[in-house]
Symmetry: C2
Amino acid sequence: MDTLVQQVATRLRDEGGRMTSQRRLILQALEELGGHPTAEEIFRHVSRQSPGINLSTVYRTLNWLEENGFIAPRWFEEERRRERFEPAVQIARSHHPTPFHFRCRSCNRILEFADPRMEEIVAQFERRSGARVKDVELTLYGLCQTCAKTESLSGTSPHHEGFIR
Amino acid sequence: MDTLVQQVATRLRDEGGRMTSQRRLILQALEELGGHPTAEEIFRHVSRQSPGINLSTVYRTLNWLEENGFIAPRWFEEERRRERFEPAVQIARSHHPTPFHFRCRSCNRILEFADPRMEEIVAQFERRSGARVKDVELTLYGLCQTCAKTESLSGTSPHHEGFIR
DNA sequence: TAATTTATTGCAAAACATTTGCAATAGACA
DNA sequence: TGTCTATTGCAAATGTTTTGCAATAAATTA
Ligand SMILES: [Mn+2]
Ligand SMILES: [Mn+2]
Ligand SMILES: [Zn+2]
Ligand SMILES: [Zn+2]
């Protein structure tokens, strides 16, 4: 049990599912793309290998992978309707390795980080509220190092290029 | 300059806009509803007063209020497409009074909280990454006190009622 | 107060991301 | 190789938000 495809195949077999060529391609796309690709991006990637594949197949597969803990979706503010799926690099972990994100409002670059102090913040909230916290979503928005520099040079934001998506 | 309607009217006048009966109703709805209403909920609320009002008018007004810093949108995970607007209780502040949220996955109740330690977490991220952080979004998900109790009594979640929406 | 200007509205249609019903296809297993 | 049925492709539906446009009504002017 090593590659993503194999792990998924095993889980699939356990519940009477089938490993198909489409699912194999989508899993490879997740590994090759990394980062936080959208369903659309994954679709375009697999379409190069296999032009016949359908967008709804991508959605169905992504949903199954999510329900089975292989990937996790993320949402970033204005992108109201776009889902970005965590790469399936750390498989079968329900929690993200470095769960927190920073997103540059100028170039859309995403940085990941972790901070042990979050744990105490959550613990205190639980004590005070009586609630039981299962998941934590922390996202910072602003300008990445590169964009912050460009910004300060040219006065009011010239919306420079260098986009990631 | 005291009520929300008056503040908005002033801003409107400053930029050649007009205070309409529809906008007045929507602003009253924001005050009366409080919490984190959706566009749809605001629409239903104003429709009771004035059945002729149109959903797109609600959206257009909400967008204008957002662009002008009177309200702020929030997104909560699975509700992929629903926007919840912060009430306009604290007007003309670009930052939310208590910026962090907890949302119960069982009853959808939302609790708000603040924690001064977040500031140091953000500051450290800025130092290490070189990025400039403008906004912080922290959302916790889990079970509120009430739902946590019910849950523990009855074994596997019976998805009890008492919904907020 | 009436006329003028044009921002705003209601309406219907479009946009956009995602889901779903269904008949055809193709994995898995005997 | 044949059987069973999970999965696919396709087209249509869904749910939310936006947009074009002619009609309406705030605000300003005469
Ligand atoms: Mn990530
Ligand atoms: Mn809030
Ligand atoms: Zn940047
Ligand atoms: Zn609850």
